[in-house]
């Protein structure tokens, strides 16, 4: 005896199967799962990784980095460029025949429009200062544009290669106004389709892209905040690429044949910044002592489960102009000796440590371990764990007249991470006296001079030489921070995914990825 379903059910089943099967056969979709959603899709305003993943795919810049190691700047929307003998005029020859996704032609006027938009304080770009030296942008003809700067700007090309240099369609921005941040229109390898906040962002392949065209038809981005849930998305085959895999899950995924796990370097370095404006760490020997007191290898192996690296310099792999330094040894005896040299009777006040919880990989556990190491060399500690929003507010709060001139002055050590990949910017914010992000009160005239020299040095190699000197001084002579570890990117993917390349800032180059 056989049981059959009613005819209507069978027809419905066939139709559903067809509906499910058809689009899958027709197009390839790359499904990306990340920890959080984009906050804006205006490339000049965005300051988060999820936003940049999307805007990098939709927009192009005049020039770009050749590879993820940032070895060299190469043409993108500009075909070539030249610099006047007085170093004040940059002439860019633009690529011909490029059109924005809405059909607007890309030309010199569009460049002028976009650069003026970043420079307008009303845009609210956090990276506006990178372009501060630009006096005006002059369109000479359809495909030639001249940048006039008030002083030589050695960092102009790097700044143009970043997200703040993205070229958006002037027609779309003028028409949409504020809504342009939700409907990005660029020239990139992918065309923006839809954004349903906290659910998905969908991009489609741009068939008219001037560069290497995308290998997949659709890019589908989904935020899944919980680490464990992201892993399940991967295991159940609902995602092709999942970033930020929790280290505990990595071991399990390794043995799963349906998943490929890749560990890539990240430019994210986690440190304790040290208050150099008041005792005890205004003495460099004390800063050296705590750098010697911490066993970074144990932290990386035991707390991070091996998913991290011991820092060998201020710049991790993937930062422009990286020069590896000699890693700090773990030598508690020498650390104790240094403390004793500075304070023969011991330092009897409490060292105030501020740490974050859930912001960086295992931040709280790492901070607790560091506290343990400091206690081992005879320092007394007081610990405070902060919630991120109030932490940031307090750290950067202007408090003139106090040692560091910031809210940070209330602490001796505070945890922060940075992933910036431009050498100049990564250093400048932290080493130049008076900079809003210089929270430690760091002020070394030699370093300031090197940085001032660098910014007007047009020769790339020579300029990187200055940064190399700064890196060495900051790391070795000044021991200005308590360096902890470099994060790594733990990415799980469908084994069919090929050729995924990630920048150190944890943003992919998407057009070359295939599935």
């Amino acid at each position: 005896m056989t049981h059959t379903f009613p005819k209507s059910v069978r027809i419905a089943a066939v139709m559903i199967a067809a509906a499910l099967a058809l689009p899958a056969a027709a197009e390839t979709t790359l499904r990306w799962v990340e920890g959080s959603d984009a906050d804006t899709l205006d490339p000049q305003v965005q300051r988060s990784r999820p936003s940049q993943i999307i805007t990098d795919a939709v927009f192009d810049t005049l020039v770009k980095w050749k590879d993820t190691q940032l070895s060299e700047i190469v043409p993108d929307l500009a075909e070539s460029w030249s610099l006047s003998p007085d170093n004040l005029k940059w002439t860019f020859k633009l690529r011909k025949g490029v059109k924005f996704h809405d059909g607007t032609p890309f030309n010199a006027e569009a460049v002028k429009f976009n650069i003026e938009k970043v420079l307008d304080p009303k845009t609210g770009s956090p990276n506006r200062s990178l372009f501060a030296g630009i006096e005006k942008v002059v369109p000479v003809d359809e495909n030639t544009v001249v940048f006039e700067t008030s002083k030589p700007m050695a960092t102009l090309l790097e700044a143009l290669a970043g997200s703040q240099g993205a070229m958006a369609s002037p027609t779309a921005v003028r028409k949409l106004g504020k809504d342009a941040a939700r409907n990005p229109v660029g020239t990139g390898a992918f065309v923006f389709k839809e954004w349903i906040p906290n659910e998905r962002i969908v991009l489609a392949r741009n068939p008219d892209y001037f560069g290497e065209k995308a290998k997949v038809d659709v890019f589908h981005y989904r935020p899944v905040p919980e680490g464990g849930a992201r892993v399940i998305e991967l295991e159940s085959g609902n995602a092709d690429i999942v970033t930020n895999i929790p280290p505990e899950a990595a071991a399990r995924l390794k043995s799963n044949p349906k998943v490929r796990l890749e560990v890539m370097p990240s430019t994210f370095q986690i440190v304790f910044e040290i208050n150099a404006a008041r005792p005890p760490f205004n003495d460099v020997r004390m800063r050296k002592a705590i750098n010697l007191a911490v066993d970074r290898k144990a932290i990386v192996e035991k707390i991070l489960g091996g998913y991290g690296t011991v820092p060998d310099g201020l710049f991790p792999v993937g930062v422009q102009g990286r020069v590896p330094q000699k890693p700090w040894d773990y030598n508690p005896l020498e650390a104790k000796r240094l403390v004793k040299e500075v304070f023969p009777n011991g330092y009897n006040e409490k060292i105030v440590i501020w740490a974050t919880n859930g912001r960086y990989a295992k931040d709280r556990a790492v901070a607790e371990a560091v506290q343990g190491y400091l206690n081992e060399i005879g320092l007394q500690t007081e610990f405070r764990v902060w919630e991120w929003a109030s932490y940031q507010k307090e750290l950067y709060l202007a408090k003139p007249g106090q040692g560091t001139g910031k809210g940070s002055n209330a602490a001796h050590l505070w945890m922060l991470g940075t992933s910036i990949q431009d050498a100049d910017w990564r250093l400048r914010r932290k080493v130049m006296p008076g900079d809003g992000a210089n929270l430690t009160g760091y002020n070394n005239p030699k370093v300031t001079e090197l940085m001032n020299k660098a910014v007007t040095t047009m020769d790339y190699k020579e300029r990187m030489g200055y940064y190399a000197q700064v890196q060495k001084i900051f790391w070795e002579e000044d021991a200005a921070w308590l360096f902890l570890f470099n994060q790594v990117q733990i990415i799980g993917m469908n084994p069919a995914v090929k050729n995924l390349r990630m920048y150190g800032i944890e943003v992919p180059i998407l057009n070359t990825v295939s599935k």
Partner: protein, 285 residues
């Protein structure tokens, strides 16, 4: 001091309520552990970071194993008990004193001011307790003191509501009238005659509140709003350990089971106490 306890225990045994006896034992062990923590394990063992020994499974040297920073879990659970008990007892005491005072005064003097005070209490009650506590900690900054204060303050409106009702009915009773006609002042009537009649309610509610306070304290610590490291706290221990639940589950279970058992103990004990103290309930059985 010990006599009521013995009477209570004898009652439990006579009623064959062995679950409550067991709960009593749990609470007793918890209180003794908390009180004598320094004798059971040194602060040094509970807080010393030895990364080489991270995440060891239970052994003779570490009876419950070690956590992700290589600290002895047994020592941390023991010291965590002390933190939990301290936070719970102090916060319940604070809220009991303040809540009973507000409730009694508002029930005794019914006027515009007390109406206003009770509306304020209602306003506070409208917020979920944990949210109210989080707001208070956000204002005061995380730490042991603010954790205790936040739990205490967030419990005050519950007590104020709870104790106003019996005062409302008690103040109309004949013995109050008698006291007044003999010339007793308001303060002595309220605190000498009326409030003592609510003692049984205080004991029952206090016991149950202790369980709640322990749970909320752990919840807040779990969210990172508790005492700062390296102070061991069960909620915070669970929070840091939960990442290892698949690989080394004992790290989560040690504080987790301790928390579960203690809260259960207080709740069962509170129930038994109510049955014992409230005569109406005894007859109902």
């Amino acid at each position: 001091m010990m006599k009521p306890v013995i009477v209570f225990l004898r009652h439990l045994l006579r009623a064959r309520n062995f679950i409550a006896v067991f709960a009593f034992a749990i609470v007793a062990v918890f209180v003794l552990t908390a009180a004598f923590a320094p004798l059971l394990a040194s602060w040094e063992t509970a807080t010393r970071v030895v990364l080489q020994d991270a995440l060891l499974t239970p052994s003779a040297a570490h009876v419950l194993g070690t956590d992700e920073l290589g600290r002895d879990l047994l020592a941390r659970v023991v010291w965590g008990a002390r933190v939990s008990l301290l936070v719970a007892v102090v916060s319940v005491a604070v809220s009991l004193v303040a809540g009973v005072a507000i409730g009694a005064l508002c029930g005794y003097y019914e006027n515009r001011l007390t109406d206003f005070v009770m509306r304020c209490m209602d306003f506070m009650l409208a917020f979920p307790r944990i949210l109210l506590a989080i707001m208070l900690i956000a204002v005061m900054g995380p730490g042991m003191v603010s954790l205790t204060a936040a739990i205490g303050i967030s419990t005050v409106p519950i007590y104020a509501r709870l104790f106003r009702a019996p005062v409302l009915s008690l103040k109309r009773r004949v013995f109050v009238l008698a006291a007044r006609s003999l010339g007793a002042r308001d303060a002595s009537i309220l605190f000498g005659h009326i409030v003592p009649n609510t003692f049984s309610l205080m004991i029952i509610q206090g016991t149950i509140s202790l369980a709640e306070a322990i749970l909320i304290a752990s919840g807040l610590s779990f969210l990172g709003l508790g005492p700062s490291p390296p102070t061991p706290e069960w909620g915070a221990m669970i929070a840091t350990a939960r990442a290892h639940i698949t690989s080394t589950p004992h790290v989560v279970f040690a504080p987790g089971i301790a928390l579960f058992v203690v809260v259960l103990g207080f709740n069962v004990l509170g129930d038994a106490l109510r049955d014992f103290i409230d005569p109406k309930m005894q007859h109902a059985r």
